[in-house]
Subunit: 240 residues, 2 copies
């Protein structure tokens, strides 16, 4: 266990891909001794509401009682607050750091921002349009993979880095979605994004992913039954 | 002029609040010797399209030919690539850094994300709802100001920092909007957010803001005439 990890408490939800990013990051850094608190998102704890009053969302990392919110900001915080623990996820070079932050932000805005619209769509037309935008964002990420990885296995080089965690949090969820949607939605498939499809296999095979992320079948079961009521609850009440 | 600033080229648009963030940051760091290139957003240059192919947006900072995109990522880049130039915008403490990044992101997502909907709204009802959400986001920022400034003049303490630049980029634009909208839209006004209203006066009085940001009257004239066609052009064509 890394120094100071005993003062860490993570507020999460077992199926949250944003929480998985943080848990994978902590696993990769060897910070496995933290306290995990599962939140009931239908009835959030006082600790979650007071730790993240602006968004009221998981994940929240409490370090010696002080909250850090937003998954990729938590990942940066781990790099900066525990520099001696495991690999740094952001590279040392300023330009490479800016590039990694840019693509991680693109994953959230352009890929996830479109994909969530496909997930909650109420008409086939709306779903197809949103799904198409999500697939297009992954095609852009195919180029980003070439730019960042420079022929190595991960966006971060030989090992997973900042962009790997950003996109990697969605790998199992994308597979669960394909299972539930019943049709080929064209996300992370070899004929559209061959480099990313191979990357996704490598990412899912990492110890950190296998230790943290629920299996695709369990996510698919959740997606087909409990997810939509939960999403509508969270979106409809602005996450309260 | 700071070391290396001669290799810097900034692609911008005179009225862009995102570009103003970067120009103010460079002014505060004493990096005034860069080359500025004004973009025609109705007919973007090949250099802009090839420097930011994913979003095709200004500002882009080219440093020795390598592009850095997204205003707040450029500000972080300036801190990291030119550590000897002027004040650092992000604090040194990891938790304070995470907090500054969190609130800067909140400004973009919750304040600007709502406000732009008010600006392009086509019905009064839609405009009032979006404007209300923007005002609510500023009320949340009022609390953030107390949390970050700890009684000092700026979010960043005695001098402007990361969150000051994020929100400060909008100060003149909010004032121009109030002028054009003709009604009190309740943004940055003393009876709703007294701390922020006083902060906005201090921010607008900074040399860096006065040197960079066009005056409110000129922005208001642009807003009442050329802005909406431009915004519809940019949003309708996904910024192409």
């Amino acid at each position: 266990m890394a120094a100071g990890a005993g003062e860490l408490k993570l507020l999460g939800f077992w199926a949250s891909p944003f929480m998985h990013r943080v848990q994978m990051a902590m696993h990769l850094k060897g910070m496995t001794g933290y306290e995990y608190v599962e939140e009931d998102l239908m009835n959030k704890s006082e600790l979650l509401l007071s730790s993240n009053p602006a968004h009221k969302k998981v994940p929240v990392l409490l370090h010696a009682g002080k909250p850090v919110c937003e998954s990729m900001l938590i990942v940066q915080y781990l790099d900066e607050a525990f520099p001696a623990a495991g690999p740094a996820f952001l590279p040392a070079d300023p330009h490479a750091r800016a590039l990694a932050r840019f693509w991680a932000s693109f994953v959230d805005t352009n890929f996830f921002g479109s994909w969530i619209k496909a997930i909650v769509a109420t008409t086939d037309e709306e779903r197809a349009a949103a799904n198409g935008a999500a697939a297009a964002a992954l095609e852009t990420m195919e180029g980003a993979f070439e730019e960042c990885s420079k022929g190595k296995a991960f966006f971060g080089g030989d090992g997973p880095g900042f962009v790997d965690l950003a996109l990697g949090g969605f790998v199992a969820w994308i597979r669960a979605y394909q299972k539930v949607a019943g049709a080929d939605c064209g996300l992370l498939v070899a004929d559209r994004t061959p480099l990313l499809a191979a990357w996704a296999d490598r990412f899912a095979a990492l110890d950190a992913a296998r230790a943290v992320v629920p299996d695709v079948g369990r996510l698919a079961e959740f997606a087909s039954r409990d997810m939509l009521p939960l999403l509508h609850h969270l979106l409809g009440k602005a996450g309260k």
